[in-house]
Symmetry: C3
Subunit: 304 residues, 3 copies
């Protein structure tokens, strides 16, 4: 199993050494045991968000913590305790399992029901309370936890992490990391191509406006402005994308080439979590196609 | 994210106020903290059902509690502690994610393998130990927890709650709520159109025989009698539906128009969790089509 | 619900007696309560594997225990505490939900994206950190927990358990149970039909070389040698199967008839968790078809 992955192999080696040592030096056993015991102690924390954990328990270490929703549902998720003061709660990840799939299995953020004009909202997971996946699997599959609808967000942080990277390497492996800092909180209605949702300026934690622009196709580069998170962008087919990660549409209505999730119908058949990132073939530096790095990176969403 | 839903917006506002106050008045912090702490205390309860929690810990508040199966699996689910004395354990919900889908992704209670004569039992989730979903998402997706096969049920309660309503509003939002009170416990074999499973008389907690009848299409109204839960109804194509929610078939064998779940093959292509609720178009007051309210409501199943 | 299953009926009866008695004899209540309380106590254990639980807490009873990953994720899984000294952690199960499906919904170990030459790795769950399912549902659906990538395995044990058998009967119901005992740990690269992954000799806990051979079709019987677990076998279409359960390919490259999981493309259209076990019809004692028992048994994977 693990033997198929180099990075797992390394882990295995490391941990194996530890295990071997266990049999020789009880001290090392305790180290390993104490490590797990420390992590288990976090299950006693009572908090609704990573920010509350930071403030109440003065935790400053990135990692998995237990959160409780207003209804009492308990779940584990990743807390970024270091970026810009920390306290960021991972609430979701958008992972494109196959750009060849057209709203098929695994396209939970758009639709798993095919490209269907009768289902403009698709699976509706952007606004309902359905949850799926696990924190440690957030770069290998779509992930949505109760924090998505329960945590009171003042700001948002986004990490673009190459698929299948393990949690302990997310921060380093990310091709792009940014967050807002203006405490946007207002409520917006469904927009249109010309009247879309809010575009929130972002602060880059990794990457910049230039690298953001280059991560999308040559054609759309003239249609958006980097340095924003835009919500509820609408394209020519009136399909609503949930989020434009890192950019703000400024002209044209071809948002399906650089915005993700949300809709259940696109024309022509370009449905999916990353609707049309492969318009001119996957990952070619040409036409409307987004870069291979972008298409093959999961988009992790944090609240604070 | 949350900004797409009015009700979420309200929540956000409320909770946000609380959060803001946190920084000003420690008392309010404690209030919020104490609320979560109270809910977390429930994790110390040892019980196999909501009835045991009611009896052992004298809890009378609706909400999420921790249950333990005979094998020791621990899970959280919603307990209705008020209806007819309380002690009702939410064990499952049947949610039609798309009446246009024909046993496609999301039709867990029927089949996700397409309308297939070689798979008459479909996914078989009515009788196996597979589980899926989470309590807070029970109106947004199919839900089945270990209580479904572990809780010792004497009676059953059913809530029909409009899709995507949040847990704290289920009771008020339900278009229909009813339960049995005759402690039915016997075991039934697979039936036929004329020899189906048991039909248990129900007590209405919200709605009545008249409103139940009107929730289904004009044509089938003459073929069933409201005021019952019927199990294992069989239709003309020999497909077994798991439950006829609120009614008892009396004539004809067109149960696919008012019974749900269970089968993996229907003719013509009318497969799905709500097999043929859209026979004469979705939600038209005509022919065999069930009402829009019924088709767009999740069916929540409770045991006691 | 439960009423559809004989074995559930039995359970229900038993437990119901207990419940009835509860109202009469408090002693029996305590028995039932103490049983659950004992199981809940296991949640205080701090361990990364069933072996550590066996060694640290001297547990010798098969059942569900809590494990913690190196990152602190807590999960419940089944521990085999009896076979060959015990300490086996259930980390996954491969369940063929429909041999008629060709890499459709439910084929998580191969691909849910259809038989697609552009997706040779399929869903990639053999090497990523995605997780799914629950321990008690391991014979009713695919199951993968964090132990799959977190537990440090020296050896592996495999149980072939008929679909839908409840956890408490797995051991008895298994049609085949075996494990390795040579502490294989090395890392292997992707192989080819002639240069495949490792073949580890196994020790039979139930069944033997003869019964293993008979569980597969007459044609492939001459192409493999029973008594091994083989990883990363490659077939004529260059598709990599993740594991050959119980056998080692020795000639020919028709591994899709007796190896499982892994690939995302097979020719002709024979994709699925059990790729081509139904080549000459499901469960016929003919040609390349595996036996009905084998095709309709979930494959449970343990580490130690």
């Amino acid at each position: 199993m693990k033997m198929f992955s180099q990075e797992h192999a390394k882990e295995k080696h490391t941990i194996t050494e530890a295990t071997k040592d266990v049999k020789k030096t009880p001290t090392l056993t305790m180290t390993n045991f104490d490590h797990l015991e420390k992590l288990r102690k976090r299950s006693t924390y009572v908090a609704g968000s990573c920010k509350e954990i930071r403030d109440r328990y003065n935790e400053q270490e990135d990692g998995l913590y237990y959160l409780t929703t207003a209804n009492g549902m308990v779940y584990q998720t990743f807390c970024d305790m270091t970026t810009a003061g920390g306290g960021w709660t991972l609430v979701a990840s958008v992972h494109e399992n196959s750009v060849y799939g057209r709203c098929t299995v695994g396209d939970r953020w758009s639709s798993q029901q095919g490209n269907n004009a009768e289902l403009p909202d698709g699976d509706g997971n952007w606004s309902n309370r359905n949850t799926f996946g696990a924190a440690e699997g957030a770069t290998s599959d779509d992930f949505k936890n109760p924090g998505y609808y329960d945590v009171v967000a003042e700001d948002m942080s986004v990490w673009h992490v190459p698929n299948n990277f393990p949690l302990e390497h997310w921060n380093q492996a990310a091709i792009l990391r940014y967050h807002t800092d203006n405490h946007f909180l207002s409520l917006y209605n469904v927009g249109s191509c010309s009247n879309r949702g809010p575009a929130i300026p972002i602060v880059y934690d990794h990457g910049d406006r230039v690298s953001t622009r280059m991560l999308y196709g040559p054609n759309p580069r003239g249609e958006f402005e980097p340095g924003f998170i835009t919500f509820r962008a609408i394209n020519n087919e009136r399909a609503a994308m949930a989020i434009c990660s890192g950019v703000k549409p400024i002209t044209g209505c071809n948002t399906e080439h650089y915005c993700i999730g949300g809709g259940g119908y696109f024309y022509p058949d370009q449905c999916g979590d990353f609707p049309s990132f492969d318009w001119d073939r996957l990952g070619r530096e040409q036409g409307w196609s987004a870069s291979k790095e972008m298409t093959e990176s999961a988009v992790l969403l944090f609240y604070r």
